[in-house]
Subunit: 167 residues, 2 copies
């Protein structure tokens, strides 16, 4: 069972059991060098600095959707972090001194465990469905639910501030 740490707070229902508002299809999987959670870099900045490339493997029916993505230097990848509990609304990351709201953290533990990863695109192969990326901070086999082109004009806020820790 998942241990509740000091200051943590649970929902009185489990979104994993009541998640009927909308349904997702997995469109592919992450192929990453990380097979154990403890080896996995803690965020995308750490993943990039490791020099360990990764890939996104898109399932056959969805591959035509990659056409044109090669024009972009970066993508936003949305993953489904399915190993995480979904009912913790205030949580205390191991490194943190106090508990914090789930929506103030990038922890995979959240009502809808969708991961957001901004990655440099190294290659796109529409036929094989393979996107080569600079690195990623999730374990091998993690389901993918969306890929979007990254636009500096809307997505890059270089002077954004706040927080030091991401998990």
């Amino acid at each position: 069972m998942f241990e509740v740490r000091e200051g943590e707070r649970r929902l009185d229902f489990d979104p994993a059991l009541s998640a009927k508002d909308a349904g997702l299809v997995f469109i592919g999987r992450v192929a990453s060098p990380w097979t154990r959670r403890e080896d996995c870099p803690k965020n995308m900045a750490a993943a990039r600095s490791l020099g360990a490339p990764a890939a996104i493997e898109i399932d056959a029916p969805y591959r035509p959707g990659l056409d044109g993505l090669e024009r972009f230097s970066h993508v936003a990848i949305l993953t489904w972090l399915d190993a995480a509990p979904r009912d913790l609304i205030v949580q205390k990351p191991r490194h943190a001194e106090t508990a914090r709201g789930t929506f103030a953290l990038r922890s995979p533990v959240r009502p809808n465990p969708i991961g957001l990863h901004i990655a440099r695109l190294l290659g796109v192969n529409v036929a094989s469905g393979r996107l080569e990326i600079e690195g990623i901070d999730v374990i091998d086999g993690t389901p993918v639910v969306d890929v979007k082109p990254y636009f500096a004009s809307t997505d890059a806020i270089a002077d954004a501030v706040g927080g030091k820790d991401q998990r």
Copy 2:
């Protein structure tokens, strides 16, 4: 019925009917000035420039999850764009000359219609569940599935290039 334009391509199944891989809970709604799709700004850059603030209203059970978010200047909001068809894998936006893959567009039409919006945070009220933001590019009442703190270190790629159009 949804019209198929030249060069567009459909999946031979509808993800809206087969979306059983994972389930989402709606954690709140967007409160925006836009009630008709045609009035809605086309992307977040346009939304910001309009000087029309908006809000995210988080449902009561999830409000403790906002604690600590006030330390951040920007957030990543994930919405569920539920009015969009999900089975178009190559599409021709009205402004575009040729059809393109869905994953090379920010169109709401995609297998999993999750919207990604980076917004400046103007205020956080944990008790009422209200996040005031600078603006947003979706219509009033759009369901929200996640809110994350935005980190310049992982999310801001100021020199990202590629593409001019977002829909």
